[in-house]
């Protein structure tokens, strides 16, 4: 099993713009979290729970692997 820290990238910013330029606040309201949480997730400062990750992917109508992807330290 690899022990290096996994970096989780996300496409939330791009997907928001693809969805009629949805604002962070609108996304936060739909999911039921604060705008600061969306900001933190987008910037990669906070890794969301599996439930929140699925909720985000459901809002954008995308499979979860299209919203969140994993890159190891070496790849980034």
């Amino acid at each position: 099993m690899p022990k290096e820290k996994l970096l989780i990238n996300n496409q939330i910013r791009r997907l928001r713009f693809d969805h009629d330029e949805m604002t962070q606040q609108e996304l936060a309201n739909v999911i039921g979290v604060s705008r600061q949480t969306i900001v933190a997730v987008e910037k990669g400062k906070y890794n969301p729970s599996l439930e929140l990750a699925f909720q985000i992917s459901i809002v954008f109508g995308q499979p979860i692997q299209d919203v969140f992807s994993v890159a190891s330290d070496e790849q980034s």
Binding site: V33, Q36, A40, P48, S49
Partner: protein
């Protein structure tokens, strides 16, 4: 300014008010008198609670004047995680203070009244550190 930052600021300002009040009481309380120490600590806690309520109200009014109507406060999973970090920081500081107090009682013959005051001081310091940790995560 969102509600969380506003409440943290109010809590820090309240801690400053308590600190100022305690400084003002310096010399007025006989530390050897158990009753006076007890009354002093209880009054300080009361001052802390009242000042916190007043500061939250003042900050709410100021924030609404300066920044308009803010975002609706939402408590989500990230807030729970931050609360955990804060609780951990408070527990570490207070535990350290507790051990130091026991050491002072055991090796430097600190009186029970003074030990109580040191513990109170640790609790006060731990709360301030907790607020600062919260501010760091919400920055």
């Amino acid at each position: 300014m969102d509600t969380k930052k506003r409440n943290i600021t109010a809590s820090l300002l309240s801690a400053a008010v308590v600190g100022y009040w305690v400084y003002g009481q310096y010399g007025a309380v006989d530390m050897a008198d158990q009753v006076q120490v007890g009354q002093f600590l209880l009054t300080t806690m009361g001052v802390g609670m009242v000042s916190n309520i007043v500061m939250v109200i003042v900050m709410s009014i100021l924030a609404s004047i300066l920044f308009g109507k803010g975002e609706k406060p939402v408590f989500d999973e990230r807030d729970k995680l931050i609360e955990l970090y804060v609780m951990r920081a408070i527990l570490v500081i207070f535990s350290l203070g507790f051990v130091i107090t026991l050491g002072l009682v055991g090796w430097y013959s600190l009186s029970a009244n003074m030990a109580l005051l040191v513990l109170f001081l640790c609790m006060y310091g731990a709360n301030i550190v907790g607020d600062l940790v919260k501010l760091y995560w919400y920055r």
